[in-house]
């Protein structure tokens, strides 16, 4: 006897009242996308669960894919049974005989209140039937096998295996943020955590050729291809940053260069976020990791934008971040050796406690507004969709902006 369905529990969605229908619809779409390689699956959603009929498919790889879909609390491998007690008991016995262990417990839930037995009685009677017909004994505290029974209007569901889902909300239900992506270890992990929470991302990368190498772009494409599991298409905006960077380098005292540079990056990200209908900015920063990531620095940097700035790794240490990067497969891409020529701009004594007033003082000394506008105007774009990337030079982008507008309407 084999499990023939997968039952998906929604979790946090239940708190969402009137929006719930939209959430379930969105989640259903995301689940179908994640499982698009399996054509024989059938889907059915109701208020509490989504059911997937396996039709003979091996559930293991399907469950691992579902574990990465945002908005799922729990995934159970279930057997759909007739509700009449005799059949139910036989099926329960058949399932538990395939399980390994010496002790068991039955947990029953009666959602269909017209069912003649109460939950407690269902559990007791099933337990008794199993005790009679097997060598198993009951242990209600630490059973080897926990057999769940859910009596619903259409059928009864039996299951003994549940897997933890990603949690969060279905992707897209919380809007989209502009993620600053460097190509290092942290920013892909931060992006992943956002996606797991159901937040769509669009990425922005600051390129300063020839002071930074084009090899970074190849890395970013590969990283985004890994993140395509969680979001099927990701847009990467590449900002030409060289002119602005040189202007900062020429006009700002060395200790303030990094802070001013970050302020310029956030100004550009802010502008792009506005025109691309994002609801926030996000970074892979971790408090205190480097000079520009102290809380003092964050105050000075946040000052240039009104957007909420999400920093999923704010309090995560590097080791934990590396572990997550390894898990999602971006670590080996991030550490790929290539020559980083950006060291020219690395100040010897960066300010760890920059002041906003000082930043404003330096920024008065050079004409950066036009450089920021120029950078925004000349953004080029890479769309990474299902692992395949397409490059758009800034000239070809007009159509795309139109598309964005209509999308917003």
């Amino acid at each position: 006897m084999n499990y023939d369905h997968i039952m998906i529990h929604y979790g946090e969605l239940s708190t969402k009242g009137n929006n719930k229908r939209a959430f379930i619809k969105e989640l259903g779409k995301n689940i179908r996308h994640a499982l698009k390689g399996y054509s024989s699956l059938e889907y059915h959603s109701d208020h509490d669960h989504t059911y997937i009929t396996l039709n003979g498919e091996d559930p293991k790889p399907i469950i691992s894919l579902l574990e990465e879909v945002a908005g799922i609390q729990r995934i159970s491998l279930v057997y759909k049974s007739e509700k009449d007690f005799e059949t139910l008991a036989k099926n329960a016995l058949g399932l538990i005989q395939n399980e390994e262990g010496k002790t068991f417990k039955v947990i029953a839930k009666r959602i269909d209140k017209t069912y003649p037995k109460h939950s407690f009685d269902i559990a007791c009677d099933l337990g008794e039937y199993i005790l009679k017909n097997t060598d198993l004994s009951v242990d209600v505290h630490k059973p080897d096998i926990s057999l769940h029974v859910e009596i619903r209007a259409e059928a009864a569901y039996l299951y003994a295996h549940s897997y933890r889902g990603a949690g969060g909300y279905p992707l897209g239900m919380n809007g989209k943020v502009m993620m600053l992506l460097s190509g290092g270890i942290d920013s892909p992990v931060a992006a992943y955590l956002l996606l797991r929470r159901g937040i769509r991302i669009e990425c922005i990368h600051f390129a300063a050729p020839p002071y930074t190498s084009d090899a970074v772009l190849d890395k970013l494409k590969d990283i985004l291809a890994k993140l395509n599991i969680y979001q099927a298409d990701i847009r990467l905006n590449i900002v030409p940053f060289t002119k602005l960077q040189l202007a900062i380098y020429q006009n700002v005292e060395e200790p303030y260069c990094i802070t001013i540079m970050r302020r310029m990056m956030f100004r550009i990200a802010d502008k792009l976020a506005k025109s691309h209908h994002c609801l926030g900015l996000a970074t892979g920063e971790s408090v205190g990791q480097v000079a520009s990531q102290t809380l003092d620095s964050m105050i000075a940097i946040n000052d240039v934008t009104n957007y909420p700035i999400l920093r999923p790794l704010a309090v995560v240490d590097k080791i934990a971040s590396i572990a997550m990067a390894e898990k999602i497969g971006t670590y080996e891409i991030s550490v790929r050796p290539f020559e980083d020529c950006c060291t020219i701009f690395k100040p010897k004594r960066p300010k760890t406690k920059p002041k906003i007033s000082e930043c404003e003082y330096y920024e008065k000394h050079f004409e950066w507004e036009s450089l920021v506008d120029e950078a925004v105007k000349n953004v080029s774009v890479i769309i990474v969709k299902d692992g395949v990337s397409t490059f758009y030079q800034h000239d070809d982008m007009q159509d795309d902006d139109e598309e964005n507008k209509s999308e917003a309407e």
Binding site: P209, P210, T212, S213, E339, C341
Partner: protein
């Protein structure tokens, strides 16, 4: 595209590609097979060996061992000799500026208990024969010195060095000729064994050879079948080996013309670059005309090479990193140059396909880039 990175690898010639494709179609048999088809492959393989000896004007006192390239040949030669003849003595000698496939082979032997001498070089990157002489003793069984340095093009005096080695009857002289073969007149018959790759002379990646005197035995590094005189197991790559013979024939046939051609380009570039006060020349004047190495005084080499790459001009800057993770050339360091100079070198390397016109374009582009790049 302007490709000035021919010391890294070259474009396979048409004749090489044709030979490889044709032979894969016509004779894919295993030269070790006993049937007539296999015997035909075997004959062709022997012909390829003969062709290589002929291109190098070597007698049949020498054997040609086909390998996957110079790194394998170097490893086989060095470890093979050291381990085969260790009862005769345990001193082995090389230089500080060899290719990693030589240096690392020596380091691994050093860990196994061999006494390894890493000879210093003169300021021009070559080994003074006197220095070698001072370090030779009766325990010495192997000396390995490259013919032409891959970073700077410094040319060692192979004849003088070989005379010193051979005044010690127990010692074998191995030469890595990867950057010299087909690019320089070499006294091959004064060398006991030498290594090279096909892809540096418009041949194919994954092809190469170790050529050695018949009286030398090697402890083989790959165990298995009895191919390559029992010195290297593995099914012979007949089409690749024949392609290697073709590449070598092409390279040696027009050797003097090719040298003159490279010299025209590199002399022109050297003269122009030396006028530029941003540039310090590293390659010695007497070095290989196929390699021109210089350092940037004030700019960062990786930035300039990246900018050149944007313009479709492909050159090389140091890629290996030191213990601190800084990219630095151990060759330039060994030649006595400052750390800053060793960290900011650029290598141009030419082939018979490059033109003077390309050299002029390169100079203009470089000048332009130097003007708009900030100092390091």
């Amino acid at each position: 595209m302007i490709y000035f990175d021919n010391a890294a690898t070259t474009r396979p010639s048409l004749a090489v590609l044709e030979c490889f494709e044709k032979e894969n179609e016509q004779c894919f048999a295993n030269p070790s097979s006993r049937h007539a088809y296999g015997r035909e492959a075997y004959r062709k393989l022997e012909d390829a060996r003969l062709s290589i000896l002929k291109s190098l004007s070597l007698s049949n006192d020498y054997r040609v061992l086909f390998t996957s390239g110079a790194s394998e040949s170097n490893n086989l030669a060095i470890k093979g000799i050291a381990k085969e003849y260790l009862r005769r003595g345990k001193r082995i000698i090389t230089t500080q500026v060899e290719h990693p496939s030589v240096l690392e082979a020596f380091r691994s032997l050093e860990k196994e208990g061999f006494e390894v001498i890493y000879l210093p070089t003169k300021e021009d990157g070559t080994v003074d024969p006197e220095t070698l002489k001072e370090n030779m003793n009766k325990e010495t069984i192997l000396v390995s010195i490259m013919a032409t340095n891959n970073e700077t093009g410094s040319n060692n005096d192979i004849l003088a060095l070989s005379k010193i080695v051979h005044s010690f009857p127990k010692a074998f002289f191995h030469v890595d000729v990867t950057q010299a073969i087909g690019k320089r007149d070499l006294p091959y018959s004064s060398i006991d064994l030498f290594s090279f790759s096909g892809h540096k002379i418009h041949g194919l990646k994954g092809t190469g050879a170790l050529i050695l005197k018949k009286n030398i035995t090697l402890l083989r590094q790959i165990d298995g079948g009895d191919q390559e005189y029992f010195f290297r197991a593995g099914t012979d790559n007949l089409p690749g080996d024949e392609a290697l013979a073709v590449a070598l024939e092409e390279a040696t046939k027009n050797l003097q013309d090719n040298i003159a051609h490279a010299k025209e380009i590199s002399s022109f570039l050297r003269e122009e670059l030396e006028k530029n006060d941003e540039i310090l020349m590293n390659s010695p004047l007497e070095g290989s005309p196929f390699i021109l190495n210089f350092s940037l005084k004030r700019k960062k080499a990786s930035v300039v090479t990246e900018a050149l790459s944007h313009e479709g001009i492909y050159v090389s800057s140091v890629s290996a990193c030191n213990s601190k993770g800084e990219p630095i050339s151990y060759v330039l360091e060994a030649m006595g140059f400052s750390k800053e100079r060793a960290m900011n070198s650029i290598r141009l390397s030419f082939s018979r396909e490059n033109t003077l016109e390309e050299a002029k374009t390169f100079l203009n582009t470089l000048q332009n880039i130097l003007e708009r790049t900030i100092n390091r």
